[in-house]
Symmetry: C2
Subunit: 475 residues, 2 copies
C-alpha cells in the first residue's frame, strides 16, 4: 500500500507503461513467480464477480445450468478432433508426473474443454428428450503462450466461462449461438460501457473445430483491437468425432448440433484500457465493487464529531450504494489520490464546515468535477451522477471507436491506416493464404470480423473480392 | 436420463454400492476418463453454489475479500517450508512440458496455496496499516492420491475455498481461526443439517506447516468419520520461511501471524451419505437447488386444463420457492420416482379431481408422507414442511452421531468399538509414534479430534495419558 502514489506517465504518451502502472498501482493484479501468470487482487476479482453475477443470471434465465468438468484432458481424448488439436497443441501445458510416479499417459491442462465435456455428452445424451443440453462452467484455463504476457489480456492462466450446448437441429444451435452473442453484447455495452463491433470470424481466425465463429471486439486507445468474446457454431464436427447421437422423434439416430461460447477476465483488461486515465483506474459504476468512498476531513479538535457525522452518512448511503468510510490513518489528500487511483466512481468529502452547512462535497471520478450538495439531496444526487457517469463513459468510448474506423482500397492505404492504429474496412478474397500475406505485408494486422456488405475488389490481389472485413492489429 | 430408475441396493446392506448408485443415478456426479477425477453435474454444482453463497456472505460480512492466485507453484517456492513440502510432495501433480518445450523448472499444481500466496504477502505487507490481510479464494485443487477414489470424498481434483489471513499479533490470528470455525459449523449444521464434533487435531493429524489445526468432523452411517473442514493456526512458520514482515506501531519489524482454512466439495459427499435413503438423494431444503416439483396428473381429455392450472400454481409458488413444473414427456409415476431419486424436498401432485376440489397432494421427500392440502393453504403448508424437514434431518442425524460415540479404556475395547464403526473416546500419550501404533493395531483408526478433558491412563501403553481424543476409521 505504500508504493509511490500516482501514475508517472501519460496514457497518450506511453500507453504500455501507463497500462502496467494502472494495473499495479490500482492494485488490480500483480506478477507472480510463475512466468506469465498473474495474481488477481481483490478489486479485479470483485469486478470479475460482478461480471459473473450479471452473465450467470442471464444464462440461467434462458435455461442453462452450471456444472464442473475435470481440469485434465487425457492426450488421446484431446486428439479426437483434428482441427481442434492442431489449433491448441502448441499452447498446451502437460502433466507428466504425480508424486514420484511417471504417468502412463500425458494429461493436457484444459486450454478449453470441448473434448472432456463432449465425452460426457456422448454418455448422457440418448433421446430427443435429453435435448437441448445447456451447460456452462466457470473455471480456470491454461494456454502456455510464448508471446510477451500482458495482465488480463494475455496470461498463461486466466478465468472464464465456457458454455457448451447440444441441440436436435442446426436451426436451434444457430439460434443459441446468436442469442448468446446478444447477451454478451448487452453485458459489455451496458455494464462495462465498452462499445463493440460484431460479426463472423474469417476462415483463418475462427475457432479450431468450429463451423463458424461469431465475435465481438473493441478498439483500445493504442490502436489495437481486443477480441472480447466468441460464440461458436460447432455444427456436427465434434458430435461426429465423439459419437454424440440421439434417437429423434422420427425414431432415427442423429448427431447433435453444438455450440460453445466464452468470455474471460480479458474483459477487465479492455475495461481498464478503455476508461482509465492519467490519474488511474476508472470503473463503470455498474461493475464497481465500491461505488462511493466517504473521506472525512479531520482536524484534531473536531475529530470525534466529524467521524460521527461521516459514520451516520455512511449508514444512510449504504442502503443505496456500496460504500466505504475511509477512516484509515492517512491524510485526506493521500486518500483522495488513492480513491482516484483505484477508480471509485464517487468520492464524498465531509469536513467541519460542510457539517455546519449540512452539505457535502461530491466528486465524480471521470469528470473530477467538484460539487457542493445538500445532505438532504445526497442520495438523489449520487444516483443521478452514477447513471450519468455510466452513460458518459460509454458515449466517450463509442466516439473513439467510431473515429478509429476507416476503409482502404489498396495495400498502401491499408498499411498507412494500420500504422495509424485504425480499424480498417477492406474487401478481400477471404482465403487463409491471402490473409496470411496481408498480415505479413501490414506488419501484423489480422481480420477482426467479417461485415455483411457487398465486397468490391480485393485489397491484396485486385480481383473481385469475396467478403468485406475489418482489419487491425490486435492483442 | 433413461438409466434404470431407482437404487437397487439398500443403504443398510451395501453402503458403498448404495452411495455409488445415489451419486450416479441422482445425476450428482459422473466418472470421467481421467482416473480419479469426477464431473460435477448440475445438481451437485448447484448445491456447491448454495454452499458458496452462504459462506461467501459470512466471510465478506467479517471483512474478507476474494482474490485469485496462480494454479502453478514453481518447485523452489513449494519447497520453502520444510514440514509443508514433506506433507504434500507425495500427492503433487507436476507440469514439466508446455507445447513442445521442456520447462526449466517443474511446476506443482496447487495441492493448497500457502506457498504461492505468501510470496505475494511478503511483497504486499509492509506496515501495521496493511494488517490484518484477510483474503480468500474459491478454486480447484489437485492432490494425486493413489487410494481408491470416492466421489466427492476422495477425488484427485476438487473445488474448495481457502482463506489466508495475516495479523499483527498471535491473539488476533487465534481469534480469526476460531471465528472461522464458528462460521463453518453454522454452515454445516444449519444449512447442510449435519451434526459435528469439533476440536484440535493431534500432532500427527495437523496440517503440514501449522502450529495447530482446528477441525470439525461427522460420522457417516457406515461408521467412518469425514473431516469436513479445517482452520489452521499457522503461527509464524510461514512468515519466517517467506519473510513476511511488517513495521509495527512501536517502529519494530515483526513477522506476521497467520491462519489458513478451507472447506470443499467434500461437504456434498457427507451430505449425501448422511441424509439419502433407499429411494435416493435427500437434500436439506436450505441448500436444495429445487425445492418444489409440481407434477400434473394428465389424462388426455383434461390435458390442457390440468396443465393450465399447474402453470398457474407454479406462478404462485415460485414467488416463495425454487419451483419446477414437470411437463416432460414421461408418465406421472416415472416423474414421482425421478424427483424422489433426485431428492427434491417437496412434490406437489395436481390431477383433475384435485382441481375440482381446489386441493393438491403434497409429499415430503424425507417422510414420504402424502397430504391433501387446500390450494389456499399451499404456500403456508409448504413453508412449514420445509422448515420441519430441515430440522428433522438434523435431529435424526444428531441422534445417529450420539449413538455412534463410545469410549474405551483398553486396546481390546478400542479394537472392538472401531470394528463396530464407533467414534471412540480414549486417553493416550499423543505422540506421533504412539498414534501410528494405535492405527496399525486397530486396522486403520486415526484420531479425529482432541477433546478438552482430563486424560486417564493411555489406552495403548497404560502410563498416564497426555490427552483425550476421538478415534475412528475415516474417509
Amino acid at each position: 500500500m505504500e508504493q509511490t502514489q500516482g501514475i508517472t506517465v501519460k496514457k497518450s504518451e506511453d500507453f504500455s507503461e501507463w497500462y502496467s502502472q494502472v494495473v499495479q498501482k490500482a492494485e488490480l493484479a500483480d506478477y507472480s513467480s510463475v512466468s506469465g501468470c498473474m495474481v488477481l487482487r481483490p478489486t479485479a476479482y470483485a469486478i470479475w464477480e460482478k461480471i459473473k453475477a450479471v452473465f450467470d443470471q442471464k444464462i440461467k434465465a434462458s435455461g442453462h445450468t452450471n456444472a464442473y468438468f475435470p481440469l485434465f484432458i487425457p492426450e488421446h481424448l484431446f486428439k479426437k478432433e483434428q482441427e481442434h488439436v492442431e489449433g491448441f497443441s502448441p499452447e498446451v501445458a502437460w502433466v507428466t508426473q504425480a508424486g514420484d510416479t511417471k504417468l502412463k499417459e500425458r494429461l493436457a491442462i484444459r486450454p478449453t474443454s470441448e473434448t472432456i465435456i463432449y465425452e460426457s455428452y456422448s454418455k448422457w445424451i440418448r433421446s430427443h428428450r435429453d435435448l437441448p443440453m445447456l451447460l456452462n462452467q466457470w473455471c480456470n484455463i491454461v494456454r502456455w503462450e510464448f508471446k510477451y504476457p500482458k495482465p488480463f489480456l494475455r496470461t498463461r492462466e486466466f478465468l472464464w466461462q465456457e458454455g457448451h450446448t447440444a441441440h436436435a437441429t442446426r436451426e436451434e444451435a444457430e439460434k443459441e449461438a446468436g442469442m448468446i452473442m446478444k447477451e454478451y453484447i448487452d453485458l459489455v455495452e451496458s455494464y462495462l460501457a465498452i462499445p463493440i463491433i460484431t460479426g463472423r470470424k474469417t476462415e483463418k481466425e475462427k475457432f479450431a473445430g468450429a463451423e463458424y465463429t461469431l465475435t465481438f471486439e473493441s478498439m483500445m486507445p493504442d490502436g489495437k483491437a481486443v477480441q472480447m468474446g466468441t460464440s461458436h457454431m460447432l455444427g456436427q464436427n465434434f458430435s461426429k468425432a465423439f459419437g454424440i447421437e440421439f434417437l429423434d422423434q422420427d425414431n432415427k439416430k442423429k448427431h447433435v448440433w453444438q455450440t460453445s461460447w466464452g468470455i474471460s477476465t480479458r474483459l477487465i483488461g479492455a475495461m481498464i484500457m478503455t476508461h482509465a486515465d492519467d490519474q488511474g483506474l476508472i470503473i463503470p459504476p455498474k461493475v464497481a465493487p465500491l461505488q462511493v468512498a466517504i473521506v472525512p476531513i479531520i482536524f484534531e479538535k473536531n475529530r470525534d464529531k466529524t467521524l460521527k457525522e461521516a459514520e451516520s452518512m455512511k449508514n444512510k448511503l449504504e442502503k443505496h450504494f456500496t460504500c466505504f468510510l475511509d477512516d484509515r490513518d492517512y491524510t485526506a489528500g493521500w486518500k483522495f489520490n488513492d480513491h482516484e487511483l483505484k477508480g471509485v466512481p464517487i468520492r464524498v468529502e465531509l469536513g467541519p464546515r460542510d457539517i455546519e452547512k449540512k452539505q457535502a462535497v461530491v466528486v465524480r471520478r471521470d469528470t473530477r468535477k467538484k460539487e457542493f450538495v445538500k445532505q438532504a439531496d445526497l442520495i438523489t444526487h449520487i444516483k443521478k451522477e452514477l447513471e450519468a457517469m455510466q452513460k458518459s463513459l460509454y458515449a466517450k468510448a463509442k466516439k473513439t471507436l467510431k473515429e478509429s474506423i476507416t476503409s482502404a482500397k489498396t495495400m498502401a492505404e491499408l498499411k498507412k491506416a494500420i500504422k495509424e492504429g485504425k480499424l480498417v474496412k477492406v474487401s478481400f478474397c477471404g482465403t487463409i493464404e491471402e490473409e496470411d500475406m496481408i498480415k505479413e505485408d501490414t506488419g501484423g494486422a489480422s481480420s477482426r470480423t467479417v461485415i455483411d456488405e457487398k465486397p468490391g475488389k480485393c485489397v491484396h490481389c485486385g480481383k473481385q473480392g469475396k467478403l468485406v472485413a475489418y482489419f487491425a492489429k490486435a492483442y
